[in-house]
């Protein structure tokens, strides 16, 4: 390649309009069904992820309403025990695996590349593969529900109930394989996020200038990478036990029923933080914008994030406090479970301090953040209660725990998430959501949530176990249950208003402009919605709040325009190291996901699927990685 040609392909001397046209040609996808399937644009994929996850949220919410209908009166016969067990299993599995984790990862897929100032996520084809895998796993689960063969063993599927002897049919296998699908998808995203954050940050964005949200997503990704293998081992061994008669969980032949619980909760507890830490990031992004000053205690917050991540692996046993553990073990896990309240407290105090020093502007995203603080503190405190072994022996597996984890997960993650949708909707669609409907949605969701879930604490203390499909009329639970069921209608109405607002604003919202909230982070430095190449020129970062500190954001030049190219920077200082090519669109990730889905579903029925099913996967992977002869990178 001649000197002249190289020079011509660079962006150095081009005018903005000319540059945009060239970048658009290089990065943009063409219209058409197969082109859309083939896209590897992180924003498109993230949007699909988010929409799909919210569809699953709606479906899971409908299941919750069905359960509340059945529990609204004693010995009701709206839903039989078989269907009810499927419904609560579906509700839990769906909300954890098909909504909460994917939607948080999707927010990361959308926001992280924009916030660190790069043009696409690392491994974009893997990203596309991840979405398709997630979609097929979700369809598998919901299809099984439609066929009345949905899992009926609870979302943590304890053996032996889910094992070969007591879980007849394919119900538990479908659950276990759905796990494999979603964990595969989650692991793929986690790897992409880690690499994107470490190697693709804009020049000058040293580690101490990364937005807290990006830190949160980074810690979350490491949690996924460490925790998910445990559950994949668990679900695979369960399928082996059920399909080919291995003895992992058979106490008569040296297996152990508790092994499942250890494996599951070694994943299951970090899972809670996989959902919650991104929410911490969302809150930390929204809050400074609406109080008009930077976040207080950046370093403290980042350390609290990391501490939470590390500690979260040391408390899985608090889900097993009533299995009859040795005293010393229980004491250790009580102490560690209590200790995690400290980093959680640090986060709350930093936000409160930021609020104290700032001047709050009460727009909808901030309302949800405030609702989050009030609700999450309560969930955290009941968390301290269940961390105590003796106390837990009374409330474990009761509605108290149901109330607790809904306070933590809905209050701690869904509230910030909806706030985040209001906050970033203008960035994703170019249109603002309605402030009036937003206030209604917040009011209904906040009030509906507390009216629905607070009484469950009391029901639990009054002795109502969770996962019962009905209860006897002579027990004093009927009144509160009816109250809860009626309140859940308010909560559902709040979500209805929210979804109406989303659909309405998507088409008819007011145009937003690049930075409607006057926020400080890089995603607001480009147009709304961002172009396929994200940034016309890669920004150069000189502080933690680049859009607040500099009147004019400096940019780097020298990227090629005739091929997809990213700037690779060093881990700590984010000094430019190389220009690396970024993969082009491809349908192969889609076919690979299809081949993987066929293999995984087939393997529910026959172990030979692993052998024969891997052939199409290999074919698809060969297509995916077929060498194109393009140079990888240029230093």
């Amino acid at each position: 390649m001649g000197e002249q040609e190289t020079y011509a392909a660079l962006d150095v001397d081009l005018h903005d309009v000319e540059l945009e046209a060239k970048l658009d040609k290089t990065w943009g996808s063409r219209p058409g069904f197969w082109r859309a399937i083939a896209t590897v644009d992180h924003k498109v994929i993230a949007r699909r992820y988010i929409v799909t996850a919210f569809v699953f949220l709606i479906l899971g919410g409908l299941l919750a309403m069905a359960m509340r209908l059945q529990l609204s009166q004693p010995e009701a016969r709206f839903i039989g025990p078989d269907r009810y067990n499927q419904i609560f299993t579906m509700h839990g599995s769906n909300m954890m695996f098909l909504f909460a984790v994917p939607v948080m990862e999707a927010m990361a897929v959308y926001l992280v590349p924009l916030m660190v100032g790069t043009r696409n996520i690392a491994f974009p084809r893997l990203n596309a593969f991840s979405y398709w895998t997630f979609l097929f796993g979700g369809l598998l689960l919901w299809l099984s529900f439609a066929l009345d063969t949905a899992p009926d063993v609870g979302w943590f599927a304890y053996v032996p109930l889910s094992g070969p002897e007591y879980g007849p049919g394919k119900r538990a296998d479908l659950w276990a394989q759905m796990i494999t699908f979603t964990e595969l998808a989650a692991l793929a995203v986690a790897v992409e996020i880690v690499v994107t954050v470490f190697k693709q940050r804009a020049p000058g964005m040293s580690l101490d200038r990364i937005p807290v949200l990006v830190w949160a997503m980074l810690v979350m990704s490491f949690l996924v990478i460490v925790a998910m293998p445990a559950i994949m081992v668990a679900s695979s061994t369960l399928i082996l036990d059920r399909l080919v008669g291995t003895q992992f969980y058979n106490p008569a032949l040296g297996g152990d029923a508790l092994l499942w619980q250890h494996l599951f909760w070694f994943f299951g507890h970090p899972e809670v933080y996989i959902i919650f830490l991104p929410a911490v990031g969302l809150v930390s992004s929204i809050l400074p914008t609406f109080v008009g000053r930077p976040l207080f205690g950046y370093l403290l917050l980042v350390m609290a994030l990391i501490a939470t991540g590390v500690l979260s692996f040391g408390l899985w046993v608090h889900h097993m406090f009533v299995v009859g553990l040795p005293r010393v073990g229980e004491s250790f896990f009580t102490a560690s479970s209590m200790a995690i309240a400290v980093p959680a407290g640090v986060q709350i105090f930093c936000w409160l301090a930021t609020l104290w020093a700032g001047r709050p502007v009460f727009r909808t995203p901030l309302l949800f953040v405030l609702g989050f603080i009030v609700t999450f503190v309560m969930g955290g405190l009941t968390g301290v209660m269940v961390a105590s072994v003796p106390l837990d022996s009374q409330v474990h597996d009761t509605y108290f725990v149901v109330a607790h984890f809904h306070y933590v997960l809905v209050g701690g993650a869904v509230f910030p998430l909806i706030g985040a949708v209001y906050y970033w909707f203008p960035k994703m669609t170019g249109r603002l959501m309605s402030e009036r409907l937003g206030r209604w949605a917040f009011g209904l969701i906040f009030a509906g949530f507390h009216l629905t879930f607070f009484p469950m604490h009391i029901l639990g203390l009054w002795g109502m176990p969770r996962r019962v499909y009905t209860y006897q009329p002579e027990l004093p639970w009927a009144g509160l249950n009816l109250f809860v069921s009626l309140s859940s209608v308010v909560l559902a109405a709040g979500f209805l208003v929210f979804f109406i607002d989303v659909l309405r604003s998507w088409k008819n919202g007011l145009p937003a402009g690049p930075n409607p909230w006057k926020a400080s982070t890089l995603e607001w430095a480009t147009s709304s919605p961002p172009p396929a190449y994200n940034f016309r020129r890669i920004p150069v970062v000189g502080s933690r709040d680049p859009l607040w500190s500099d009147a004019d954001l400096p940019v780097a030049a020298g990227m090629r325009t005739d091929r997809r190219e990213l700037l690779v920077t060093s881990i700590v200082e984010a000094l430019p190291q190389a220009r690396e090519s970024s993969p082009s669109d491809s349908v192969w990730p889609f076919w690979t996901a299809i081949a993987t889905a066929i293999m995984l579903i087939w393997s529910i029925f026959s172990p030979w699927a692993v052998v024969w099913g891997s052939i199409p996967i290999a074919v698809a992977l060969i297509g995916w990685f077929w060498p194109k002869g393009t140079p990888e990178d240029e230093s």
Partner: protein
């Protein structure tokens, strides 16, 4: 929100919730746990009020301009540090309180009444044992205990994981296949306390309850002696005909009635079924009518349980329920 606060206050002050409530404590373990719950709740509630109060104050104040000066940063640093220190202290204090409560539990005397509990889908089998571990008699879904005496329950499961929970007497403990757990409990005053399976165990997890009946020592001995005796012979012709029906139909293949040829073991021991307060693991109060209803169609009353619908004529049903009712 306010209504909710009022509710929790009333709950804590009055204590209510029937005979299956952690707040209605009638044994030393349950009382210690209730005290712990109250301590934790009050403290956590106070912290929540502090945080929410501070938040509301901050929001109500409405600064004219956000502060970013050095003095403000310093004040915040001090305040956050102090709050974190306070959090550490509270958490450490609660941990110590929790350890303390644990130590006050689980003290079982040697002369405790010994009962082997076998959980199964979806009922409870109680086998009373003597000091040498030999079985004295078997009962189902109803545990009688002497007041003021320790009772040691050996918890085992026949099929899946269950959890034994009698909120008014003690915290719960799991029954796990391949393992044996011990739970010691004591009732301070006579009464009927309800318990229920707390670990999801399949279709009829919601209908796996039992009653604990705490009696004075004398009453308890009398009850135990009666339980150890074989079944009473039917007193009238109808019940006698019912016994014939029981022995000639599938009933006898699954149920035991001591003193008769019925020695099935996959269903509950029915030797004294008429004397129990409930049938179907806490499903229905024991009456002749409910016995007949249960036998006539167990799959409608408790769908999916392991008792099949045995076709009987109405005459046979009447006789059988008379026999069952007479087994006291």
């Amino acid at each position: 929100m306010k209504a909710a606060l009022v509710i929790i206050f009333i709950v804590l002050l009055a204590g209510c919730g029937g005979n299956q409530s952690a707040l209605e404590a009638h044994g030393p373990s349950a009382v210690a746990l209730k005290d712990l719950i109250v301590l934790f709740t009050l403290l956590c509630f106070a912290i929540w009020l502090l945080v929410t109060g501070f938040l509301l104050w901050v929001l109500a104040r409405r600064r004219a301009e956000p502060r970013q000066d050095q003095a403000a940063e310093q004040r915040m640093t001090v305040a956050v540090r102090a709050s974190v220190a306070a959090t550490v202290l509270v958490v450490a204090g609660l941990t110590v309180a929790s350890f303390h409560a644990t130590r006050s539990l689980n003290s079982g005397a040697d002369d405790a009444v010994l009962v082997s509990v076998k959980g199964q889908q979806w009922w409870w089998q109680f086998t009373y044992k003597d000091a040498t571990q030999a079985s004295i008699f078997q009962a189902a879904n109803e545990l009688h205990i002497p007041v003021g005496k320790d009772v040691r329950l050996e918890l085992e499961s026949i099929d899946v994981i269950h959890s034994l929970w009698i909120p008014s007497l003690a915290g719960k403990l799991d029954l796990i296949p391949g393992r044996k757990n011990d739970l010691t409990l004591r009732a301070d005053r006579p009464g009927t306390y309800r318990g229920q399976c707390a670990e999801f165990c399949g279709l009829q997890h919601g209908h796996m309850a039992f009653l604990v009946i705490a009696q004075d020592e004398g009453d308890y001995r009398q009850w135990a002696a009666a339980q150890a005796a074989p079944a009473t012979e039917p007193s009238d012709a109808e019940a006698a005909a019912g016994k014939v029906v029981f022995m000639s139909k599938p009933c006898a293949a699954c149920h035991t009635i001591r003193g008769t040829p019925a020695i099935g073991s996959s269903g509950p021991d029915l030797t004294h079924v008429g004397g129990r307060q409930t049938i179907g693991a806490g499903l229905l109060e024991t009456t002749r009518g409910s016995l007949a209803a249960w036998i006539a169609d167990p799959q409608t009353l408790k769908p999916g349980n392991n008792m099949p619908l045995v076709p009987l004529t109405s005459e046979e049903l009447r006789q059988l329920s008379a026999y069952m009712e007479g087994l006291r």
